[in-house]
Symmetry: C2
Amino acid sequence: MAPAGSALHTPMMRNHTTATPDGLATVPLLDLLANRFSASDFDPHHELDAAAVDVLLDAARRAPSAGNSQPWSFIAGRRGDRVHDALVRHLAPSTRMWAPRAALLIANLAHRYIDTDTAGGTEELIEYSEFAHYDLGQAVAHLTVQAASMGLSVHQFRAFDRDAVAAEFEVPTTWEVVTMAAIGYPHGDSPRVPAGGHASSTADRRSVADVTWAAAAHGF
Amino acid sequence: MAPAGSALHTPMMRNHTTATPDGLATVPLLDLLANRFSASDFDPHHELDAAAVDVLLDAARRAPSAGNSQPWSFIAGRRGDRVHDALVRHLAPSTRMWAPRAALLIANLAHRYIDTDTAGGTEELIEYSEFAHYDLGQAVAHLTVQAASMGLSVHQFRAFDRDAVAAEFEVPTTWEVVTMAAIGYPHGDSPRVPAGGHASSTADRRSVADVTWAAAAHGF
């Protein structure tokens, strides 16, 4: 943990609006970010059309990446199609209780190593980008913000069989299935705990002061 | 690269709006995402106040993370303060030509290993989260979206001395300085190439079809 508090940078948060010392509200936090949450259950009757999936992936692909390396790819299945069926088969039992109810399941892939056929046939794996995970995280985050603007919740998870998904979709060893996401309308009864809220321990966030490196404690 | 094209999921992009087959526009891509870009130069007279920095970090801290692990911390320096001066000293020569002109420099830290004092005194480094980089990427992405809403551009980079920044700010070995970001108003003459645009090779993006895993090619 970073030491808390910095004399140079004193957080001045007030609800979702940052206020100046004289009380004038200045810069609002985007509602999209303030109200975003990961639904714990989804409306099992809601469906997404292909065009909506496209716009989500369009948001993802536009994310920044190191040297514009774009080290991401996505396996997207809509409830009822064969891709969705296959993804569901490889969910962990705990995840299988809720994730299939979402209209969309996506497996998020990172380009970890240079593809062998472009590396001159060597069998040694050469890192594609040291930022492959970091940039995949950025892409999924951009998708998440777009989803929020469409009233959709994105719940990312790790509880699935990575190797089975990779085998099922013939993912080469140079790519890694990193996470999955369930995307859809939240179920009416599911908890709606916004990011940074305090209603649930899992939604608690470290404060702005706590995520700000305490430079003052180190002589600054 | 993922094989292109999928019979199950045919991209139907039209500018920034996704259209249904009958031509009705349905879901727009957020302007914040469509118009975002990484400025190559910044307005050297623009300043950000502490409240604006707070709201950027507030956006970052609200990002989702694996098990709500929040494996991130930020060293933020505003042009003219001692943190900024110290960060500038450790930029690579190529970066030092433009990044110090931004109103704000942030070093982005990932929590890679469990802190020794919470691990029972063992000297062996135990991974804090396998998603530390991924989640830091998400946090910086959320900050980037908030910045866009404030008219600010975020330009992330790697061209700095990680070890020197870590030493300067006494970052423990359990944390890693992963990236830095320059944040401010774009300079009037700097290229304004939106994400996914085609005016610059560095802004080119793989298409929606290309980032969608071609399930059809694998029997789906």
